[in-house]
Subunit: 473 residues, 2 copies
């Protein structure tokens, strides 16, 4: 695909020959060459067009994107000033001008054979949206947005069109489709701050062309994505969405956070993203039918996604709790029962082995291994519990404060868990500082960490829910 | 109270003259002089006696306590080696030896007129507990513990008997009574890490003498405590506890987190803190009767305590949401309705004022002030909303990412909120990094901050619940 001159491309396009080397939605995430179109002069607040934001995206693309970025400043100060001057045809154009100028530039891009457009800025009226959509009909170009605000992120190739400088999450297996710039920005900020591994972000904006179904399909086939997270206010093509989701959940889980569940907030959602929110019950039923797992808030979404991206689904209801403190283990046990999971009844053999090895330890689940438990005891008890056929998943609590446990002791957890790859293990270094200390040791392993026992139980519950979805679908 | 010789004190005590200058429970938190009794040699894991832990408490007391600390090493290496050598009689003895030696030292302390004992270490059997209790009968000494593990913290005078070095929360208005060393350590770690203002911590341990009722009464009268938080597994003197609580909640709120709500975890709680957990429904009814507010987990406890320590109770159900992003405001609105609060209907006058000042802003609650809102707009809209008689409390959302808001803009929030001291205001800089940026600006003000809208709504719900409790009691 090293075609060295523009006229050859124009020629191909003129005669309607479709270059089918790549699905065009894929181009939005995996382009080789991108043109970034903005202005070093135009400032318009409502649609978020400004020289500063343009500079920020230029900075991100140049610093982070490992493909080629051409910068096109319609005012001619930075980079190129005309499309015709680009040495090669880019596959993707990222356009961040006010509506009128954006549409002009979009058409020019479509004409020369750009395959996809990411329309960052907002403020479009219906007529302008229609003008944009015509470009798809006329040139076959795919359009993300407009009004995507934050645009697209791909941690594999470094593509990052967000207008915050250098906000790039860690590479990982979780993809996000936020139907709101604000929620998306919050998810992104959360992922960066808590080092959550992300594959891709797609801020869908007004969805005149590329919609949730397109993105679901793309993420469903994306080998770098293991979990798909959606923040949804409304849906246009519900039936297709459910069909697509049903296919995908067999191989990877889909999590959904639904905004606008009440009459009042639905009204706001309508003016916010022009979506028909529909009744909460209908969504609930649709999600169940599709095998989509519904979560209650942003933190639960993140916690669930991390669990699903790192651990296997749970194949039964029985949870063992292994702790070096009593109280937090009791709170974990309470939450297990509240969430309709079971406290595993350990076999007599398992109990005897634990109690004979560690006098003073009562091996009734939840197991309180006492405050002096360190790596050796954690490793042995975890292994015994994982080997017990009455156990489907394990929740570990390892506090530092008030205990002898040192952060490095946590290294035995992923080592031991790896011997039983079919049973999920989650870890709770409960609290604030304790959590960050253990996070430094385990953050890059496959063990999901939670700062409170209740959150870890909810993560196991999600793993169980996905286990049931796979069995059923 | 400057009595300069030991014999005078011994004399007073011998003749049974009670020095009633101070309630003896108060001495546990507000001593002038403390003797810390440990060993630089003895190591016993189960009860947590060790030279290292002893050294840590010595370090904490010397570094943090603003009264006088005498260190008594029964092995004579550090500090004094005999009680009789102390220049003055301490009011409080903190004892951290194995049971047998602890009891010996406790008796010696009681004999010379020490008024209260904090028995840090554990591992006592029933007989040993009885021996300890006899000291109360014989000498009138009050006993905290044994097995308090972390002991006592008072941020006003720097008293800190925890055996983690230099773990001292910020001074504030929240008191904690954790019936579990592990949960207490987690609360303490959380408070330190998130800079939550604490008045006192009392780790009650086995409660052979000083119990929840004593501590409730003390915290109820403590002018430095505005909110009381209890982690409870069981209760010995339920009727008295409820009576005491009913009195206190008229002037300050009590929050309770109950562990051991299920049959399985209750069994564990019994062996953990020797408490009869009782059925969950009974506790629920008792809490309601007492006006105690029940919370679901440690984070909710902390979030609620911060709200109650900084903001007034909410006098009605009507919440206004003021945001610079759409999606998170919708999630907040959903949670308002889910929690049986109301989205306030703003008066036409308020709406008109907002909409005429800021074209493009739709002043229907939840109010989306659009991404370019900065200090001036936040200040004006917040003031208009607070002045509206249809509004009982306000939830603010101010995201940085995807918006123009700068952390310093947040300064207008406490300024404006202070003009309406009867209406609670909470703030949500949603996310990870965004939250920490705004926390640097508002963390030391009276505005409680939450990293997600759902948590802020729950805090408002607690403020509403306390409002109802005051009306009723």
């Amino acid at each position: 695909m090293n075609m060295n001159n523009l006229s050859f491309f124009l020629h191909l396009n003129k005669f309607g020959l479709k270059v089918k080397f790549m699905d065009k939605v894929k181009v939005i995430f995996e382009p080789q060459k991108v043109v970034l179109v903005g202005s070093s002069r135009i400032r318009e607040k409502v649609g978020m067009a400004s020289p500063q934001l343009f500079r920020n995206v230029v900075y991100n693309m140049r610093k982070l994107f490992r493909g080629k970025t051409y910068v096109l400043d319609v005012d001619g100060k930075a980079g190129y000033n005309k499309l015709s001057k680009l040495p090669k045809i880019p596959e993707l154009a990222v356009i961040m001008l006010p509506p009128k100028q954006s549409i002009e530039q979009a058409e020019k891009c479509a004409k020369i054979g750009v395959k996809a457009l990411a329309m960052i800025t907002g403020g479009y009226d219906d007529e302008q949206r229609q003008q944009l959509l015509k470009l798809k009909e006329e040139y076959g170009v795919r359009i993300l947005g407009p009004n995507t605000i934050m645009g697209v992120i791909n941690t594999t190739n470094g593509l990052n069109t967000t207008f915050e400088r250098n906000v790039m999450p860690k590479k990982g297996k979780i993809a996000f489709i936020p139907q709101s710039g604000g929620v998306g920005a919050c998810l992104l900020d959360w992922a960066c701050f808590y080092s959550i591994g992300v594959s891709k972000f797609a801020f869908v904006g007004d969805k005149i062309d590329v919609d949730d179904v397109d993105l679901l399909r793309y993420f469903g086939n994306d080998k770098n994505t293991k979990v798909i997270c959606i923040y949804m206010e409304g849906i246009k093509n519900g039936r297709k969405f459910i069909e697509e989701a049903r296919k995908i959940v067999k191989k990877k889980p889909i999590l959904a956070l639904k905004g606008g569940i009440t009459q009042e907030s639905a009204k706001r959602a309508k003016s916010h993203t022009a979506s028909i929110a529909g009744s909460d019950e209908i969504f609930d039923a649709a999600f169940k039918k599709a095998g989509i797992i519904r979560v209650e808030d942003i933190e639960e979404l993140m916690n669930a996604a991390v669990a699903l991206s790192k651990q296997p689904p749970m194949r039964g209801d029985n949870v063992a709790i292994v702790s070096n403190v009593g109280g937090p283990a009791i709170l974990a046990a309470d939450t297990v029962v509240r969430n309709n999971l079971q406290l595993a009844s350990l076999s007599e053999k398992t109990k005897k082995k634990i109690e004979s090895s560690y006098p003073g330890v009562d091996a009734t689940n939840p197991i309180d291994m006492i405050a002096d438990a360190r790596a050796e005891r954690y490793s042995r008890v975890l292994e015994l519990v994982l080997a017990d056929k009455n156990v489907d998943g394990v929740l570990i609590i390892n506090m530092l404060k008030s205990c002898f446990f040192e952060p490095e002791d946590a290294e035995v957890i992923p080592e031991t868990a790896a011997k039983y790859p079919k049973k999920p293990v989650v870890d709770v270094p409960a609290g604030g500082e304790d959590f960050t200390f253990v996070y430094k040791v385990l953050g890059n392993t496959d063990i999901p960490l939670y700062n409170l026992p209740e959150k870890a139980v909810k993560a196991l519950k999600i793993l169980r829910t996905y286990g049931k979805i796979i069995e059923k679908h």
